[in-house]
Subunit: 340 residues, 2 copies
Amino acid sequence: MNSFDITEHSHRRFNPLLGEWVLVSPHRSKRPWQGQQETTEKDTRPQYDPSCYLCPGNVRANGETNPNYPSTFVFTNDFAALQAESPSGSFTDGMLRAESERGICKVICFSPRHDLTLSDMETAEIKKVVDLWQEQYQELGALEEISYVQIFENKGSVMGSSNPHPHGQIWAQSSVPGEPAKETEQQEAYFAENGRSLLSDYLAQELEEKTRIVVENEHFVALVPFWAVWPFETIVIPRRHFGHLGEISEEEKSGYADIMKRLSSVYDRLFQTSFPYSAGIHQAPTDGRNYPGWHLHMHFYPPLLRSATVKKFMVGYELMADPQRDITPESAAERLRGLL
Amino acid sequence: MNSFDITEHSHRRFNPLLGEWVLVSPHRSKRPWQGQQETTEKDTRPQYDPSCYLCPGNVRANGETNPNYPSTFVFTNDFAALQAESPSGSFTDGMLRAESERGICKVICFSPRHDLTLSDMETAEIKKVVDLWQEQYQELGALEEISYVQIFENKGSVMGSSNPHPHGQIWAQSSVPGEPAKETEQQEAYFAENGRSLLSDYLAQELEEKTRIVVENEHFVALVPFWAVWPFETIVIPRRHFGHLGEISEEEKSGYADIMKRLSSVYDRLFQTSFPYSAGIHQAPTDGRNYPGWHLHMHFYPPLLRSATVKKFMVGYELMADPQRDITPESAAERLRGLL
Ligand SMILES: O=P(O)(O)O[C@H]1O[C@H](CO)[C@@H](O)[C@H](O)[C@H]1O
Ligand SMILES: O=P(O)(O)O[C@H]1O[C@H](CO)[C@@H](O)[C@H](O)[C@H]1O
C-alpha cells in the first residue's frame, strides 16, 4: 500500500485557533452535481436606488432619513438582534438555563454608491471603512456593558444579505460568544507557553512554505489556512502581533485596505462573479481583561465550490459530526494565487 | 424597567448536550425580508424516473445496476468522502497537524418509489428503514476500524440533496467526530454525577412543562429543545434510556417509525411544502469503550424560517460568533403542535 499523502487521502486537519478538527476528502470534487444551483445576480444596479434604505437621502424603516453621506455611514440597526435597554437577569428552571444578553447592533455603509462592492472601491475609500471599524471597535468596546465587538459583512444574497448596497454590520454584546471564546483560550494558552502569538508562529511557517499564501503586502498576509473549512476560505493576518484595532497604526490601516482590495478582486475573478462571502474580524474581547496572546485577524468564509452557481452545502454530516471539505486548501490557494 | 422575560428579551440559552450557548432574539422575526427566496420544488415526480441513479433497475455512476428492491436498498457511496482502503498515518510539520481518516460511506434508499418522502410512506415501511439503520449501525460498528457511525438524511435541494429520491446516508469512520465527542463528554459527566442520563432528566422536565413538546407516543417524544438553534429544530428522544440502535426493541422500532411519520407530516403541513431538513441520529461511539451515559436521540435541523421560500441564514454573526435564532423555541413548538 502506498503511504499517507494529504493531497490524496482522506484525513482530518487540526485547527489550533479553535482546537477543533476538519475532515478533508481530496478526491471528492470529482463527484457530479445535479443539486441546487444558485441564481447569479445581474449586475445592473444603479448608482442610486430610490427604494434602497441604505442609499443617501432615503428614509429607513423607523422613519429616519439617511444623511447625504460622502463616504461611510453608520447607524443602529432598525431590526437589531441585541438591544441596549433590555432588562438583565438570568433564568434557571431545573435543566433549563438562560442569561439575558444586551448589546448594540449597527449597520455600516461602505460607500454612498449603491452599485459598488469593496472590490470596486479605491483603496483610499476602503481605508475609510477600516477607519470606521477602528472607531467603532474603540467606542463600543469602551462601554462598560460591552465585552465583545463582532464586525462582519454578509455579501451576496446566497449569504443571506438582503440588500446589495455595500454594507457590513457590527454586533457588540455583553458576553463573549463561543467562537472568539475558543480562540481566546487557544491563543492565550499558546502565548503562555511560547511567549509568542500563535498566529505569529503560524504565519512565519506559512511564509516559509508559501503553498497556502494568496497575496501579501508589507503589513498583511492573506492565505488559505491549513485547516480551512469552506472551499476558498482565507484568513488575513497582520505581520505584527497586535490584539485589536485600537492598536493598529495608520500605515497598517492602509495596508489592511490594500489587502482587502486585492483579495476581494482575486475572489471576484475566481468564478467571474461578484463573489459572495461572510467575512468577520476576530479581535480581543473588551471585557477589561488583559489578552497578551490575542492576534487580530479576519476570516473570509465564501460558500461557492465549483462555479458562480454551485455552492458547498454544510449540511447532514457537517451539522451532525464535523465540518468537511472536498478540495485541499493547497489547491484552493494555488487557484486563487493564479488570479492575482 | 420591567423584568427579564425569555419570551420577550434577547438572551442566551445553554445547550447541556454540547456545553455551548445559542443567542435568542425573540422580537426579531418582525424584520421585513427582501433577501434571497428559495424556489419550491414542483411535486410532479414520477413513481419511477429512468434517469435517477437510485431507482430500482437503473445503472449507477460506477456501472453497477440497482436491484429491483421492494422496500429499502443500501450500497456503498460511489463518491464516498471516506474510504476503507486508504493508507493510515499522521502528518506533523511545525504547527500543521493532520491524521489519516478511514471509513465507509453508504447510501440508503428508503423506498423504491421515486415520488415519496418519509412522510408519505406507511409506518410499516418506515419501520423497515429503522430496521436497516439498526443493522447498519451494528454491522459497521462491529468493524475494528470504525469508532463512530453517523446516520443522516439531507432532504430537499435547499439542504444540498442532489436527488429527490427518498434516501439517507451513513458515514462510518475511524475517529469520533466533534459533535458526538462533545455530546459524549457532556452525557458521561452528567451520568457520573447523577446516575441517570442527561436526556432522561431533561425529557422528564419537558413532559412536565409541556410547552416545547410537539408529538409523543408510547416510546418516543419529539420536542423543540430549549436550546434549539434552527427555527423549527426538533429532537426525538426515546423514553427509555439506551445508548444505541443495538439496544432498541422491536416495539420501540415501531414507535420510532410512528414518531417519524407523525413529525415529518407535521413539518410538511407547516409551510405546505415537502419540508426540507438535515436529520441525524446521535448514538454511542463504537470504539469499544463503555458509554453508560449515552442516550440515543435524533436531531432535525430544518432551514426554513418564515415560509416555504424564506430560510434562516446561518451566516455572518452565526459563523463568526454564536448560533442565533429569531423566534423562541416555545412559539415554534406551539405552531408545530397546532398542526397535529
Ligand atoms: O449527498 P451528497 O451529494 O453526498 O452531498 C451532500 O451531503 C454531504 C454530507 O452531508 C455534504 O458534505 C455535501 O456538501 C452535500 O451536498
Ligand atoms: O443582515 P440581516 O438582515 O440582519 O440578517 C443576516 O445577517 C444576520 C447576522 O449574520 C443573520 O442572523 C441573518 O440570518 C441574516 O439574514
